[in-house]
Symmetry: C2
Subunit: 205 residues, 2 copies
Amino acid sequence: MKLYETATAPNPRRVRMFLAEKGLLDQVECIQVDIAKGENLTPDFVAMNPMKKVPVAQLDDGTCLAETMAICRYIEASHPETTPLLGNDAKEQALIEQWLRWIEFYFMTPTGMGFQHTSGYFKDRMKVFPDYGAECLNQVREFMKFLDKHLEGKDYICCDRFTAADINAYTTIAFARVVKIRIGDDQANLKAWFDRINSRPSAKV
Amino acid sequence: MKLYETATAPNPRRVRMFLAEKGLLDQVECIQVDIAKGENLTPDFVAMNPMKKVPVAQLDDGTCLAETMAICRYIEASHPETTPLLGNDAKEQALIEQWLRWIEFYFMTPTGMGFQHTSGYFKDRMKVFPDYGAECLNQVREFMKFLDKHLEGKDYICCDRFTAADINAYTTIAFARVVKIRIGDDQANLKAWFDRINSRPSAKV
């Protein structure tokens, strides 16, 4: 498998961390795409992913898979010998998916939209609404309060063990530095959880 | 399983259609939640889903599952005897997930945000940015053009058969009437596909 990705971007990081937790990262060829320079807008890249986003996985048969969680699901299903990160049974799979979607919709997406609409980083390729971006950042702060309360007495976000939900929330908090949002001094549960995930070898990739 | 849902809202419809395709709809007790009246904002409802959204599935052991696709994954994994709608193998599962996410991010979410930010339907409970809403509706129109091209020569969105991707795109197009977006006269592939899905018994539930 080849992984077209951007080392500094949050979504590719989710896939690298997922691969590292599975012990599979060294089996994948990572190819850097410079999104600041627009390398994701070229005809060759758009043929791989019409949505023009990183990461994209190219399977050995040539099939291109876009979307972070589609790539993670492929890795999980094609390597059943590795530790499951998306759940062992129907109920776990559903609870992890619930959390993945909450993290995606109420945390990762508003962080990204807050960044794009307040910084103008991609203003050459999208319309920017700074007031909407500021409201997105309020949502990010609200979700961090919610997560801090949820983590009281818990080591991990769900299923009493490390899952993809921890990867996606961790990488979002790390990314939120670009919008100057950090864990509050009063958010002790969130801080302890973040440090716990941050100490894993997979957090370094 | 109990399903807390709103008959007129698009996300619950996705779950009902998924259940109907599995032949399981009559095994589920559907309980109506009036979101216009704010029945989803009560302490009892928030205890089931802190994100205050429908649908929520309550399993027989009392566990509450929020999020449309988490509920659908639970149904798929707990009824392996039924026709798979989320893929047979790793590659299919990943391709369907890619499409589900494209439909969610570039079609369903902008339709919902376009509706909420241009109509003010929920203005008692959120900040409204009409210019951002108008831009969302442009994204909806762009995705419909993309989908029309993609469907050339195809009966279904992916994997050469009916999947959850067809459910989610179909219910989004049906919902898009609230923002006065309809399939264009020049979008013959999209129209033929919509009519194909619309003729299934599950489209009536």
